[in-house]
Chain length 173, copies 2
Amino acid sequence: MDQHTYNKSTIDEIDQRIIEALQQDGRRPFTKIAADLGISEASVRQRVSHLINTQVMQIVAVTNPVKLGFSSASMIGVRVSGERLLEVAEAIAAFDEVIYLIICAGRFDLMAEVVCRDNEHFLNFLTEKLYKVPGVLQAETSMYLRVCKQNDWAFLSQARLSPSPPPSTPNIE
Amino acid sequence: MDQHTYNKSTIDEIDQRIIEALQQDGRRPFTKIAADLGISEASVRQRVSHLINTQVMQIVAVTNPVKLGFSSASMIGVRVSGERLLEVAEAIAAFDEVIYLIICAGRFDLMAEVVCRDNEHFLNFLTEKLYKVPGVLQAETSMYLRVCKQNDWAFLSQARLSPSPPPSTPNIE
DNA sequence: AATGAAAACCGAATTAT
DNA sequence: ATAATTCGGTTTTCATT
């Protein structure tokens, strides 16, 4: 009984199969997925909706920076003077070039993934932005040569930021 | 000779708006996007298809590891005996726990992002999988404490505003 | 789980740039 | 020649039962 309530807190086999299907093609019709799994379309639709509402999953477009002319990517390990960790993290996260920033424990205090148009742009980022943040002690760059595997996940914390970024004017003629 | 062979390798304003829409909701109906932009649905459909075919964009489901019970995430820098770099990379990429693997230049030869259920699982990954790959010399783990920013390869807004003209030509064959 | 109406999708032919 | 639009038939979505 109570089968019609969707307080489902567990991800079952069906949910996983649905997620797998949508990881391959985020726009795959629910009817097709339903047929593959031998269940009704409405069931698939309901489950997807539930997975999205509970922030287990998101369906989004992801882009390829290289194809967009951003060919200089790197991972930077940063050491920070301890008492300033949070404010430094906030400052670094604010840079456009930083697409991924983690606070972590280990050799580094922060790991930042940075994407630039080219080496000149990257050098400019290091000298004019990163190294000028007060509290940044040391940074070690690993330049990307090849992306071997990319199973995009997403701690979708506050990931969806405002659609129209405030910094500069979007419409220029 | 110089007939304007509008090779559609250029991403114009319309493409960018479409991508931005799909970055927020990968399943947004093309009809809606078309209405927002004041163009036909077929045009949106053709552009999306083209963007996907040329691998500029992908529409996929991304999941939240924490909600799925994977609470131990880390970035691991790996040093490898040089002549085996590619095969080691291939071996590491094959592990389920590795969701992101980069070959890079700098302190490390590889950077691997690893997601595990818990510390026990992670320890098992290190001892039974990573360290058993022939050619792995050294590994330095940074455990994630907090994800501050995550714009995973989805940062097209930057590409559009490019305020300073890039010094190098953006056209790459 | 099934139904039916409304919406969205899709292929192809047509027009426009 | 490339891109946008129109148009119809088909499929999918979605609220309701």
